[in-house]
């Protein structure tokens, strides 16, 4: 596997929401491949490349905490924006948060640290000027300097991720010595299809390491 990278990410909280429990969010035990991809894309991404996650190392014990917050139950209705745009008036275009309040609990992970092992592939949108070396250099340079497109997060934006690039020669930080069946876990969303369907895989943590199936692998179910 050429062009692989290892990124150490950590933070006091994380919420990798299970799709079946997202009204009152419950996090997966471990970071999902799609969340890992999001972190890498926050540092560097171009349409010419596609990040592929190989392995996720879990470095801290899996522990949960519950946080309940006041949230709003509505999204911004498009037709209201349309009518405001048409009438050039903001009247009525607002969300009254105390009248549309939902108190929702989130069961989030606390004190997490992972190493993401990943590589990227070139896509059909790569131009003449794109090659693996260039994008790898850009990513490594940014990650080393702490540069990012936006601050990466651990599942949701309020839980910011600290990140550090692991040198290829550097020893892998020890993962937790635990085996766990994680059940069906979200692999990623199929953004290429019109219905943006979710794809799952049967995740198993062996000695703190979750192996992620490659795109197109038979383990990935829809």
């Amino acid at each position: 596997m050429p062009y692989g990278i290892k990124l150490h990410v950590s933070g006091p909280y994380a919420c990798f929401t299970r799709p079946e429990m997202k009204v009152e969010r419950v996090s997966y035990d471990v970071m999902t491949p799609s969340a890992a991809r999001g972190i890498l894309e926050a540092i560097h991404w171009k349409p010419a490349i596609r990040w592929v996650i190989d392995r996720i190392h879990v470095l801290e014990p899996i522990r949960f905490q519950s946080i309940r917050r006041n949230e709003v139950g509505q999204k911004v209705p498009v037709n209201k924006v349309k009518s405001a745009l048409k009438h050039r008036s903001l009247d009525g275009l607002r969300l009254l948060c105390d009248q549309d309040r939902q108190q929702r609990a989130s069961t989030v992970l606390t004190n997490v640290a992972y190493v993401i092992e990943a590589h990227f592939e070139m896509t059909s949108r790569a131009g003449d000027g794109d090659n693996e070396g260039k994008h790898l250099d850009i990513f490594n340079r940014r990650a080393e300097r702490g540069q990012c497109f936006h601050q990466p997060c651990l599942g949701t934006r309020e839980f910011d991720a600290r990140f550090r690039l692991l040198d290829p020669a550097e020893a892998m930080p020890p993962a937790i010595t635990e085996d766990r069946e994680l059940g069906y876990m979200l692999w990623d969303i199929d953004h290429a299809s019109a219905e943006r369907s979710a794809m799952f895989f049967r995740a198993t943590m062996t000695n703190g390491v979750v192996n992620i199936p490659q795109p197109g692998a038979a383990e990935i179910c829809r």
Binding site: K75, P77, V81, A84, L93, R94, L96, C97, E158, R162
Partner: protein, 307 residues
């Protein structure tokens, strides 16, 4: 409006004196706490609410500074009427999505141009697929107290009864209703935030908006006094300005330069250090010392002490 050309990371230190900075709906409105360490917490959304409220006060009616997610309490009746009128007119239940990408961009643009909070924090728009997610450049994390907090439960009484029935209740003595208040005698909290220059280009969050954001962070508690909050004040606002849009150093390295410890006769001691437990609990900002390491800042990073 165009975006920023510099990335920013910031640290906010704020205090609470005899108040409840952020109640936990799960725990009967007790101050939020980390159950493992007893550190006090204030959620990101609580702080964002205060920024929105400040901007609404400070820039009321100015174009481009409307607030989308509003606190009903500050709305006047006229607004409420307008809201109701729109609501009933729309109860047809039709789901509408933008016709095409061009229209979706137009709608997003309109929201960003007119609403400060959409431009700053982003918003999820609409019912259609990907028709309008605005990801804002400003991201805030949970605030955490420097030391464990010790909430107090204060029992209070009210002389009046709510209803005739309650008044006649023989078990109540002197028609008194008992209530409870939860306060933190003193807590110094620390919050971290991030401003992405790259995302600001997309929403049009410009230099003036950035200034307004920092103004709001410095003053947000001045206009949020209430019976529950006690005395809350922003004590420090330390901004790290990166020379480039992508940034010049990892945020956590910059945050580590701001250290908050106990003041032991003018001497700096990190929280949790041995011997500190013999000290009386902190009850004022002067019981803490803030050390800012300005030496050897990474090249291209400027430290600005806004407060």
């Amino acid at each position: 409006m165009s975006g920023l050309t510099n990335r920013y990371d910031f640290v906010v230190l704020f205090e609470v004196i005899n108040g409840n900075p952020n109640g936990d709906p799960d725990a009967g409105n007790l101050p939020r706490m980390d159950p493992e360490t007893n550190h006090g917490l204030v959620s990101d959304v609580s702080l964002k609410r205060k920024i929105r409220n400040y901007v609404e006060f400070a820039r009321d009616g100015q174009p481009g500074h409307a607030i989308y997610v509003q606190d009903g309490a500050v709305l006047n009746e006229k607004h409420r009427e307008a809201y109701k009128a729109i609501r009933s007119e729309q109860s047809t239940g039709d789901k509408l999505t933008p016709k095409d990408d061009a229209e979706a961009i137009l709608l997003r643009q309109f929201m960003c141009d007119n609403f400060f909070d959409v431009r700053t924090f982003g918003a999820v728009m609409g019912t259609g697929i990907n028709c309008g997610q605005v990801r804002g450049p400003v991201q805030m994390a949970f605030a955490r107290s420097i030391e464990p907090i010790m909430p107090l439960e204060i029992t209070i009484t009210r002389m009046a009864a709510t209803s005739e029935k309650e008044k006649d209740d023989t078990k109540r003595s002197d028609n008194r209703t008992m209530g409870r208040k939860h306060i933190v005698p003193y807590g110094l909290y620390r919050a971290h935030g991030f401003v992405s220059a790259k995302l600001s280009e997309r929403t049009g969050f410009g230099e003036q908006d950035k200034e307004l954001l920092f103004e709001a962070l410095a003053n947000m508690f001045e206009h949020d006094h209430s019976a529950a909050r006690g005395e809350m004040t922003t004590r420090k606002l330390i901004v790290f300005k990166h020379e480039t849009a992508l940034g010049n150093a990892p945020a956590h390295q910059l945050f580590d330069r701001v250290r908050v410890g106990r003041n032991v006769d003018g001497e700096f001691r990190l929280p949790g250090e041995r011997g500190l437990d013999n000290l009386p609990p902190a009850r004022a900002f002067s019981d803490y010392l803030v050390q800012i390491d300005r030496d050897g800042l990474p090249t291209g990073v400027e430290l600005i002490e806004r407060l």
